[in-house]
Amino acid sequence: MPPIPGSGLAKGLAVTLRTMTKRSHTAQYPDAQPELPPRTRGVIGLFEENCTVCMLCARECPDWCIYIDSHKETIPAATPGGRERSRNVLDRFAIDFSLCMYCGICIEVCPFDALFWSPEFEYAETDIHDLTHERDKLREWMWTVPAPPALDPAAEEPKEIAAARKAVEKAEAAAAAAAAAAAAEQAQPTPAEPTPAEPTPGEPTPAEPTPGRATAGQSPQGQATPGRPTPGQAAPGTSGTPSSSESPGTPDTPAGGTA
């Protein structure tokens, strides 16, 4: 059937009229903040407490936009007759965002979870030189790093959590066994010899050396920065409250965003 003459014209009018009745697509950006998707690549935040100045990020950066200066400090031996240790101290960490192409390789390559994507994007400057941001600014952006997105419902448990949980279960089992043994001994009326000191059930036992840096409270470079919060604890996921570094991290918080 041939189309009715003028039906195309009517169709055109209908399209515009229908569009008028729908909500417009305009994002009123400065008045209303955009709804950014998870894992938005806005800016790179530096969790400098985690940085060991290994320079991997600076070397992998395709644009050479990361500047790192550091020096070595010697820590006197902890015990008499022990060996002196040396550690790296970060002097400068800067990212030139006028060069950065937001590839994220530095974040991928960081072995100690010191770099994170932040969705923050409002850092335009009037001078291109002001786009080189130093460590204090990069550290500030850490507060804007969101919690890592939740795992899929049927996803495998993160390795760090699995290891931590296994350690706790083992310790609890040992404690229970010891308690049972003690109870059995008490049931017997022979006060022959005192029972050896047993860990009480409630006490956390760091008996098992848990693999991986994730175990809360233990960090691979814990010796590096004695006064600072240790990396595994202040998981950026917990909206980056630094106070969490004072308390031992809960095992259900995956360290960093790499879970």
């Binding site: 055109g12 008028m20 697509h25 305009t26 009123q28």
Partner: protein, 322 residues
């Protein structure tokens, strides 16, 4: 003395309408066009949904330098915006918006003639601008304007003549006095022809070949800046108001409405005019620009035969009911 006051008051009201309604239409166009394209349009000027955008535009235009090209015909160049704008002001005087004597600026016996003749003068402004600018694009635009005027004035006049035949008078209030509701289906073809031809005379999209900005920059207005350019734009929107009001008066029954006959006639006129102005904007958003040859073909092979057929129909019915 009282007569002088009366005339002054009427002129003042017409002038106020002339200044306000085109701005309202322009703002409506901003908003309607934006929403038809999924946008919001102006949102900041004036605070509430950008209601003062056109005021802000006017301030901007007033601040701009008034440039006359070195080789331009100075006098004509500077006069052209006034020639384009003033006819619409004059036409507005003769358009009745209500049944009473006080609802029209000036009752003119040959109102239809006056209105159509003066509206034709408005196009002269574009012609003058196109010729006096000493610019090839302007000249092209001016010539296209002339061709369009020639092609579309004829069906417009024929369609208007059909109404005059039906009413037996060329006075605008007289036509409205004679109006009956069944004139709507009777004159519908004439109404479409009149409205379309009027759009083309105003060079509104889709008939904006004379100012086709992707081809000839802005046609006859290419060399204009500042206030003079703003006057041309104002003329376009005043033209929309006048065309819609005229179509309302001639074909849609003006102040006649289903109810509220006494005292509310002017509301009906304004309402119908507003709906037609919306249609003008709607057409602009929906349709692409007609090519120059398509423009001419539409006028000569479609509109003029239709207008002639309408006149024949009007004559037959008129004879039959007598």
């Amino acid at each position: 003395m009282n007569d002088v006051l009366d005339v002054a008051l009427r002129l003042l009201v017409v002038f106020a309408v002339f200044l306000v309604l085109p701005l309202v239409v322009g703002q409506t166009e901003h908003k309607v066009m934006a929403h038809m394209q999924g946008r919001l349009g102006p949102m900041y000027a004036g605070g509430f949904h950008g209601w003062a955008q056109l005021v802000a535009d006017g301030v901007k235009f007033a601040q701009k330098e008034d440039v006359v090209p070195a080789n331009a015909d100075r006098r004509i160049f500077q006069l052209a915006p006034a020639v384009a704008l003033l006819p619409y002001l004059l036409v507005l005087i003769a358009i009745p918006i209500g049944p009473s004597e006080s609802a029209v600026g000036q009752v003119i016996d040959a109102g239809l003639f006056f209105v159509l003749a003066v509206m034709g003068v408005g196009v002269l402004g574009s012609l003058m601008a196109g010729w006096a600018s000493a610019n090839k694009f302007s000249l092209l635009g001016g010539l296209r304007t002339a061709a369009q005027l020639l092609a579309y004035e004829l069906p417009m006049l024929l369609a208007a003549a059909s109404v005059a035949m039906a009413a037996g008078t060329v006075s605008l209030p007289g036509i409205l006095e004679a109006f009956e509701w069944w004139w709507l289906p009777w004159q519908v073809v004439g109404a479409l022809v009149f409205f379309t031809a009027g759009l083309a005379e105003l060079q509104r999209p889709p008939f904006d070949m004379p100012v086709a900005d992707s081809e000839i920059i802005f046609g006859a207005y290419t060399e204009y800046t500042g206030l003079r350019f703003a006057l041309f734009l104002l003329a376009e929107y005043a033209g929309i108001v006048v065309l819609c009001a005229l179509t309302t008066v001639l074909f849609l029954g003006g102040w006649h409405g289903p109810f509220g006959a006494d005292g509310l006639g002017w509301v009906w006129t304004l309402l119908k005019t507003a709906v037609l102005a919306f249609v003008v904007i709607w057409l602009r958003v929906s349709y692409p620009r007609l090519r120059e040859d398509q423009l001419q073909k539409l006028a000569w092979t479609v509109l003029i035969p239709l207008a002639l057929a309408q006149i024949a129909l009007t004559g037959i019915v008129k004879v039959a009911i007598q």
